[in-house]
Amino acid sequence: MTAVRCVDLCKTYRQGEEDIKALDHVSIEIEEGGFVCLSAPSGGGKTTLLNAIGGLDKPDSGEVYVAERRIDNLSKGELAELRLRQIGFVFQAFNLIPVLTARENVEFVMQVQGVPAAERGQKALEILEEVGLKGLEDRRPADMSGGQQQRVAVARAIVSRPALVLADEPTANLDSKTSDGLMELFRELNDHHSTTFVIATHDKRVMSYAKRIVRMLDGRIVEDISQDAV
């Protein structure tokens, strides 16, 4: 089954007097259980593609399918429901709600989903331990380092076991040891639960965990190589 399918996506941003082609006729298909890294220099289009797949940004043209359902024509409410139930997000920055503790941030999506308090509390504690934040559950984002905040965001993205996880530079603020731990966790989820990962990154260490690497340049896919080739 196809987890993600993008057909001929185009997206142009206007920057001052200049039009920037963030996506230039991009087509890509990602199978369920895929572990794909989108690699590109800054402005290459990887974040725009990630946002289009996550229903956060609408392409100017083309079609986006998630779990074989077309999403580029959905309403705001339908997109919110899709993101809530099927997609986990890790953003490059500003990932957490400042007024909630680490545990509450992790619980947030489950709470919106309507998961009972006891169940979500248990899951949140387990996942925070898995990402190495045991003992920091009651800290607020302002009292945590950038790396710790990023790990909370990762924990929140995967805690409800979404079918698709979209991560934008998830290891940007992490040291190498934590990065490895996080990527191993991603791979474990990918291997055991067939969770599909699409990760936008510059980091070669992250790419080494990928089953497939898609390189982009100026909004176009210029290379698409599988794990064997890596």
Partner: protein
């Protein structure tokens, strides 16, 4: 339900994110609410006092007169039903209290001065509690029976006439044949009244004595019926109409004194206007607080939308934040208003400005009247208007595009 829990937690935490701003806004709401309720209690008290004093000068919630009595309140316009028959009908009707009286214009003369007054011939047994005169506060004594030969006048009138208890005065009016009807009376008592003008205006004599003086036999000029609540006298009015409707006019007190009746009628509207005016002043601060709160949290709102919260949830969260702030302010403001009223619930002595108050028909003691309905009205109106005032910033927040909001610097 689970969304309400999520939104409530976020709203509550966000409320205390900027302590200083929230506390300043809270203080404004508390003071506004206090002003709404406390000032309304004072106004209510003042109007109630005016109405009570006005009714006490009539007195009676429902009154029966000859149709022409209002235009010419003289002995020429008496009720054509004999007083004995009136007593028979009204005693059987089980009113809280009723009385028939003779009320005519007269001139009172002492050896020093004379004054135009209203002579009221009463049966003291029927009038106790109905008239504004407290029998026990009368210097000397009040009348003892309908055929008492004495007269009770106000303290102020006694000063003007330079007379006192035990001295004699002469009362003069006209009989039905337009002949002078006069009689000498001994002053047996001096009454005091909360409205000093009453002390100058009213003179009380026994009903039978007055009827004899005026040569009107068993006739009276007025029947007064007292109900339980001056705001609702419809039952007494209907019952009185059934008892007597031949050649007389039956009126509610609001028709007898249209100024007071109208004032009571517009008071509710005035309270509402007062509440809305204060809220409008408050709403600028409220909307500003919410706009700032939304502006500061654009990225956070974008994040929540990206994670799967729907725009209507964001709308709900901002409105809930506003309503929480208002609810806390309203609760504290209402409590403060109640606490402020408690020490003065027996009245504020305004005797220093009593003459000015009297010109407005108000006694020199202002008793605040804190009504639960006014407190509820203030709270409900502010919550409803607060809801609408919050809609604009909340709607704005709900319309953010997640990715634009989350990347906003």
């Amino acid at each position: 339900m689970h969304m309400l829990a999520v939104l409530s937690r976020l709203a509550w935490r966000n409320l205390w994110r900027n302590h200083r701003r929230t506390l300043i806004m809270l203080l404004a709401i508390i003071l506004g609410t206090w002003a709404m309720i406390f000032m309304t209690a004072l106004m209510r008290g003042m109007v109630s006092q005016m109405v009570a004093d006005g009714i006490s000068s009539l007195p009676g919630h429902v009154q029966v007169h000859h149709p022409d009595f209002r235009d010419d309140p003289s002995v020429a316009n008496l009720i054509n039903v004999p007083d004995s028959e009136i007593a028979e009908r009204f005693n059987a009707a089980n009113f809280r209290q009723w009385a028939s009286r003779v009320r005519v214009p007269a001139v009172i003369t002492s050896e020093y001065d004379s004054r135009g007054v209203t002579l009221v011939g009463v049966d003291p047994a029927l009038e106790d509690g109905l008239t504004f005169v407290d029998y026990r506060e009368v210097e000397g004594r009040f009348l003892e029976s309908a055929d008492d030969k004495g007269v009770v006048i106000g303290r102020k009138l006694a000063d003007i006439l330079n007379t006192e208890v035990g001295k004699r005065i002469v009362l003069m009016s006209q009989d039905p044949d337009n002949e002078i009807a006069d009689r000498g009376f001994r002053v047996v008592g001096l009454f005091t009244a909360s409205v000093k003008a009453f002390e100058e205006q009213f003179v009380f004599a026994g009903k039978t004595t007055t009827q004899n003086m005026l040569r009107i036999g068993d006739q009276v000029s007025e029947i007064a019926v007292l109900g339980d609540d001056y705001r609702d006298v419809e039952a007494e009015f209907q019952k009185t109409l059934e008892l007597i409707n031949d050649g007389v006019t039956v009126q509610r007190w609001t028709e007898v004194d249209r100024f007071l009746g109208t004032m009571l009628g517009v008071m509710d509207g005035f309270v509402l206007v007062w509440i809305v005016v204060i809220f409008l002043a408050l709403s600028f601060g409220l909307v500003n607080t919410l706009v700032m709160a939304v502006f500061e949290r654009v990225r956070e709102i974008g994040l929540m939308l990206a994670l799967g919260m729907r725009p209507k949830d964001i709308l709900g969260q901002i409105i809930l934040e506003s309503l929480l702030l208002l609810a806390i302010g309203l609760a504290l403001g209402s409590a403060l208003a109640w606490a402020t009223v408690q020490p003065i619930r027996d009245g504020i002595d305004l005797s220093m400005v009593s003459e000015g108050m009297e010109m407005m028909g108000v006694s020199s003691v202002l008793v605040p009247e804190l009504l639960l309905s006014d407190v509820v009205l203030a709270n409900v109106v502010v919550l409803i208007l607060g809801f609408f005032a919050s809609l604009s910033p909340a709607w704005r927040a709900a319309q953010y595009e997640p990715i634009e909001a989350i990347t906003k610097v």
